[in-house]
Symmetry: C2
Subunit: 544 residues, 2 copies
């Protein structure tokens, strides 16, 4: 039996477009004489559809297109992820289903049992859990079909399990010949390694081949790294397609495969691929073909410019310098060099006159006060206003250039440098920003060394550096990581080797910046815990 694994890049809600992708892949697989083709979780509507699932017409159309997919199964069997209805009139009435189609018809429907409802996931909001689990048959083989989370609760793999039941175990007990897992499993640093180990271990302990097909592509903040994999009954990986791109690969169940020596790419390379995909998909799926951003002369905006130039045509990227009286000479020169290196467009709009005009306008109100954060933010917001004016006038997507260390501590100006449709590096700590810049410079200097070497500064007042306000980034980022990603508390972080005052001050900054982050542009998630939909703290609260 030949099985096609199709990792496709659907757009959320664009059902007919997604159907075309499914059809193209079905036709290619028929051409290659495959017996079965497997698509990712919710391929028909794209993942995550969120509250679109509350729309009756949306569900209707998903089901209509599912029937069209079934009709494609005359010459090839199909397993596809889609929505089906529960008819008991209790709860949501929707299932997240893997639908097995054969001979032009739906043969069986396998519903997701474990509905993730943590971090960025809200599936209990949308779906009912499966009420029964059973095997299907194809060409004399018994197949178990599971959906993403259903395979993520193995009691031997996880110390702390999220659910009582293990549907994968239940399937295994029914003695299938192989187990299929269709997923929309988003990228985060290190996840590919865990995912691979987990499936390998489940395959090995149950002496059961596993076929894994993941959604690829970015939908707003979530980047799906995709990938098609086959594990043999010893848990060895025998097929592993590329990730971060659509894939159609074939697995011949009768063929003897060599064991792959699979090493996921290093974290920084993965992040690079993820962010480029994230920016590219945001543009194409929202129909932006041009990007604008402000270049400050610092490393964050330089990196975002370089990523943008990797994601879309460099000539469609506009970098805007907006120097003020506090901008160092180097900032302008280095930015010019970066623009040349990238082959993007550049322009300069000085902000001194505007800044002075604001100060004049506010003279009466501000009489008797000293220049402080208010004047600093004014400058940042002038830049935001100029960039948004360009975006509004010409249809550019504005990218915000803030990093995670800044978003965490609130070292960013709301409605200023936080302006933008997308914040590509808002989930990268400053220390990771440096690593990614070095990675991009591996072959040749893309981001000028001067920018990488420069002491970080917002350049909003004379001789300012980030470290006037923030701890050194090497220390700050380690504290932030423990607090945000590991959910550790003050005492625990102090015990790990940091000064009490420093930890206390840092955590306070994080807690107090919640209101800013709530109004931030969506960021591309690359860590286990990104700001945005996966981290939900109250704005008004009195804890610490």
């Amino acid at each position: 039996m030949i099985i096609a694994l199709a990792s496709i890049n659907p757009t959320v809600g664009k059902i007919n477009y997604n159907f075309k992708k499914i059809k193209e892949n079905v036709n290619k697989a028929i051409h290659r004489r495959a017996d079965l083709i497997i698509f990712p979780e919710l391929s028909i509507c794209g993942y995550p559809p969120l509250d679109l699932l509350d729309k009756k017409t949306f569900i209707d159309e998903c089901i209509e297109v599912l029937n069209d997919v079934a009709k494609l199964s005359e010459k090839i069997s199909i397993v596809v992820g889609g929505i089906t209805r529960d008819t008991d009139m209790i709860g949501t009435n929707n299932f997240n289903s893997a639908i097995f189609c054969e001979k032009g018809k739906i043969k069986s429907i396998h519903n997701k049992t474990l509905l993730p409802n943590y971090d960025v996931f809200d599936e209990v909001r949308y779906f009912e859990p499966s009420k029964n689990i059973f095997l299907s048959q194809i060409g004399g083989k018994k197949i178990g079909i599971s959906i993403c989370e259903d395979a993520w609760n193995d009691k031997d793999f996880w110390m702390h399990r999220k659910y009582e039941n293990d549907p994968a175990e239940f399937i295994v007990k029914q003695k299938p010949d192989f187990l299929i897992n269709i997923s929309a499993s988003p990228f985060s640093i290190g996840k590919e390694k865990i995912r691979t180990e987990m499936f390998s271990q489940i395959a090995k302990k149950n002496n059961l081949p596993i076929i894994f097909v993941n959604q690829v592509g970015a939908n707003t903040d979530l980047i799906f790294d995709g990938g098609c994999k086959v594990y043999d009954s010893n848990g060895n990986l025998i097929i592993a397609s590329n990730r971060f791109d659509e894939q159609l690969v074939f697995f011949d169940t009768e063929k003897k495969y060599d064991i792959l020596d699979y090493n996921p790419a290093d974290d920084i390379e993965d992040i690079f691929n993820a962010l480029v995909l994230g920016i590219r998909d945001y543009c194409s799926k929202s129909r932006f073909d041009k990007i604008v951003l402000g270049l400050s002369g610092g490393i964050d905006s330089a990196l975002v410019a370089a990523l943008a130039a990797s994601a879309i045509k460099p000539k469609n990227v506009l970098c805007v310098l907006m120097p003020s009286q506090y901008s160092s000479e180097g900032s302008v020169k280095d930015s010019q060099k970066l623009i040349n290196n990238l082959g993007v467009n550049g322009t300069s709009i000085p902000i001194n006159m505007l800044f002075n005009e604001y100060k004049t306008s506010l003279k009466n109100e501000f009489a008797g006060t000293n220049e402080d954060i208010a004047e600093e933010n004014l400058q940042s917001r002038i830049r935001g206003n100029l960039l948004m004016a360009l975006s509004n006038k010409f249809g550019y997507l504005l990218l915000a250039t803030g990093n995670k260390s800044e978003f965490a501590t609130g070292y960013a100006t709301l409605y200023g440098d936080m302006c933008g449709g997308l914040a590509p590096i808002s989930d990268l700590y400053k220390t990771t920003v440096y690593k990614l810049a070095r990675f991009m410079n591996k072959e040749s200097e893309i981001i000028p060394e001067e920018i990488i070497q420069k002491i970080p500064s917002a350049e909003l007042k004379p001789n300012q550096t980030d470290q006037d306000t923030l701890p050194p980034y090497e220390i700050l980022d380690k504290i932030l990581y423990q607090y945000i990603e590991e959910s550790k508390e003050e005492e625990e972080i102090i015990k790990s080797g940091f000064e009490r005052e420093l930890v206390r001050k840092t955590l306070k900054m994080v807690d107090r910046a919640e209101y800013k982050r709530k109004q931030a542009a969506p960021g591309l998630k690359v860590t286990n815990k990104a700001f945005g939909t996966g981290r939900r703290f109250p704005i008004v609260q009195g804890w610490r």
Copy 2:
């Protein structure tokens, strides 16, 4: 037996502060010789604590304070809402509990069974459902204890139920002498009526008195209207405290009560009370004592100013006029009159010079283009920048003045008039804005009639009115209501009597403005479906 019902206003996460409130009420109830005092759901930590529940130290402190509450129960029994731990190491490990304390100790723990996970609720993210339901005893009486949602699944009351089980029914079968329901049930228009009818019906059909105690106060976007109620075994309301304020009322189980002729306030009065509470609590719980906002001369900002002046001292409210070349003379004059009526502070910062300076700065970039939305937004963002400068310099809370019709259609400028820490009327349709203005003018003219009568205009270009872009508000709001609150689709809305083109254009505007709303200030929720955490649509999507 005398039972005290204590509707308190806790602050999320401010555990010691909440404990003090509990203790004060316990002492008052002891003084009144009450046998039992009942507090709302999650009184100890405030509702909703959201991801604070991921912090181990937070849970530890909640439990520690719960033990302190138990110690208060030497002279009076206590039912209090708090967190307790599940110890099975599967899932979240937290319960949302009603804890019954007696003789200085915890006597029984009653966990919430139905965990709401729709609209603004994410309780499956945080809690495990109860594993058993049982009665407790006090002074020879058997009491059933339920938490909020546990009573909201009656099969005779709801046509479409959300859950299979009905814990209230399960309790009833065990024949309690009365049923307690402790809640953190947020306000929305019309909910008080439904809530009252529902409890009345459950009491009547089961021949069972019901005691209801609700959290009061606002936490960020959610306003809890509070209220303490007692229904007799015929479903008659015999005690109904005020809402929108802390209450401590007493119910004597041996006394014969008259049946109340209870009519909830009209919707507009409820909205007024809710918004004033929402603004006041946002200020006090975030430690703001001053409010700033921009007065355009239109009704939205006038209403927000009037609400602000009702929520905090008028002398702590600063209204800023920022006239441009497009501002009508009336706008300035009417705003001045409003400022006088309210007794708030006013100032004026003209923006013409700034607007001209921006156009000069952008001359090269904008060469050969006509003035359009870019120039309109520039003006709005200049105003946003000025207001934020005042906020940053002097510590004002900036209120955004946009209404729901604007937020829905995107007829608002991101980083412009959308700037602010809180958007008090972002869940009010324009037609409701008028009604509320009229309501506030009932006794005497607070909002000048000229402002109410004025044709709505953003005044960002010559002779502009809202209806250049939007359908008349009476029509628009009806379409929006069906789409947003009733989840109706294009065809259904057209069938209800609106032109196809108009409906199509309106829904498209709503869908396309998602990216703006995602970056909006939190709004005060007053409808069944507010923008914000309760409405989660993808930004990047291809549906319609």
